[in-house]
Subunit: 350 residues, 2 copies
Amino acid sequence: MTDPPQAKRRAVTIKDVARHAGVSQGVVSRVLNPGIGPVAPATRERVLESIKALRYRPHTAARELKSQKTSTIGLVVADVANEFFARLADHVVRAARSLDLGVLLTTTQEDPALEVGSVEMLMDKRVRGIIAAPTGRNSAIWREVTDMGTQLVFVDRTLADVPLADVVGVDNEAAAFDATRHLIDRGHRRIAIISGPLSISTGRERVAGYRRALEQLGAEPLDEFVFEADFRDPTVGGAVDALLALEAPVTAVVVSNTALAATVTRRLRALEVAIPDDLSIVVFHDAPWTALAMPAFTVIRHPMDAIADTAVRLLNQRLTTDPPQHGEHVRLTSTLVERASVATLNRGAR
Amino acid sequence: MTDPPQAKRRAVTIKDVARHAGVSQGVVSRVLNPGIGPVAPATRERVLESIKALRYRPHTAARELKSQKTSTIGLVVADVANEFFARLADHVVRAARSLDLGVLLTTTQEDPALEVGSVEMLMDKRVRGIIAAPTGRNSAIWREVTDMGTQLVFVDRTLADVPLADVVGVDNEAAAFDATRHLIDRGHRRIAIISGPLSISTGRERVAGYRRALEQLGAEPLDEFVFEADFRDPTVGGAVDALLALEAPVTAVVVSNTALAATVTRRLRALEVAIPDDLSIVVFHDAPWTALAMPAFTVIRHPMDAIADTAVRLLNQRLTTDPPQHGEHVRLTSTLVERASVATLNRGAR
DNA sequence: TTGTAAGCGTTATCAA
DNA sequence: TTGATAACGCTTACAA
């Protein structure tokens, strides 16, 4: 009855269905795409049966070619091994599914060249839209994306000179301010920050918030307290060494993501520096494990679900209605979750 | 010079390039696909220039329609928020990139219906191949995949009745045996396992290995020691309660993945049950944070990189050479990494 | 209500 | 070495 498994039989096309049902291609197409034209209930039935009998499946590429519309979006993130982006990707895929959109996943590894390659692939495949966390060093290519009429939503990070893109992220400046103030409130004055690359908006914003807190609340904003690390820098342990080797070592540090925090923690353990007794830590992003760490980390919690949902919602909005002349910017707010990685110093105000 | 940003200009096609370069479409196509036919160096130059000048980009869908070959593969996993699958996805995306393959990511959330939807989408898009961690309850649809000539590599899990699929996974039976033996060696006799669903091959294998160790090494394989939980079951805390409510509570438990382990740990903390003093734990999969947990978890470490690389290699092999009549099965080996979540009991052999 | 046919952007065959 | 031209599988006017 059925063909032998290996016999990669010629795929059944709309023509086969038409012949089998004794109608023309056009009719079949119309039952496939209801609303495009009338079809007699009886014929419709017959066609549907033929479709089932022949196990016909429409050929997306042909459809896309004719209709000039794909049902695919692109997702461009740094690295899906990063819990933050993994969460994001999981949400995006789910949300996209409910809109009948496929998701092409690409990663930049924070490498501008890979980013360009990703974007080109997505453009060649004519995705309807892209949700992206840009590396920050390729504004031109992103501008081309919007120029071509491909809808674009930046997530987590932003690029100032891509005006047509929507942006959804958190208020990193405020979050860093809060984190720093929390430390200052606990008596810390010598506070460091291990930030992500300053080529990325989040890195810049976090350092700015950190600086503002120090200045405003009377602590010392020393340059040697600011470390710019790659988000996945495996050598960030060196920053820890430097921080502790200072004549007057820091008593606290704000760490910009969980991957960095993991590396830092490992280094501190190796050095037998106790958290929080010898060094207090606040970490950006509340990965599930931060509560399980030793000690449980005080973190800045981002509204991950809202970020992802908003990104997809904005993209879908652009896909289904006339896209606006300028990108919409959505800033969600993060909150500080106090746990056990911050010590209270009682050496009074300095 | 350039169009206004919004003016979604008609996409430039190969025809435009041909006209601009003063040649025929065929020639342009031939410079685009070298090796297909001759082209004079001078013409080639001219065409290349036109391509650049017009910013021409080939239309993948058209290409695919004509050539009946896509440059996309599908990746079907349960849930990319799960660290295991996230790692896998990250690798797959990278490896695919280097083969010039796009990756369509879909998730099943362990739901057979979503799995079917994913597979249909991928088939409609005519992906060249699929790397999948099947839910275990949809053999039929996977058989259809191979019947249609789409290459298939199962990863992590396997389905017995899909003979044409390659499989790459770890030896879960042996790993569970090792984990259990480790516990027995440390003096434990009342050992539980919180396994994944038995509808998934890994769950079955792990329980089998666990059972074999108990029987072979003289501990008690009681039915009430085996808990079948969904991999992301948020109510697995209940299993913990049950285990501890036993007349003679267990002294150790093997936990089937890190998500479950996190939930279990949280529950134990709430109950003020100390790890490992009151309960020892071995966890499947060495997520980066397991070493940072309190206490650091003793884990079964899977060779993640090898798993992902092998999956892509097998798929690529099937894509580039004549696929074999039967699937290849690759079993990699996991290793036990001893840390601090297992106590040594000194109540002698019973 | 249905059929016919053009055309989406490519590749590939065949003549020139 | 190049140019016409026919598909690929589908959607969509338009005609019947």
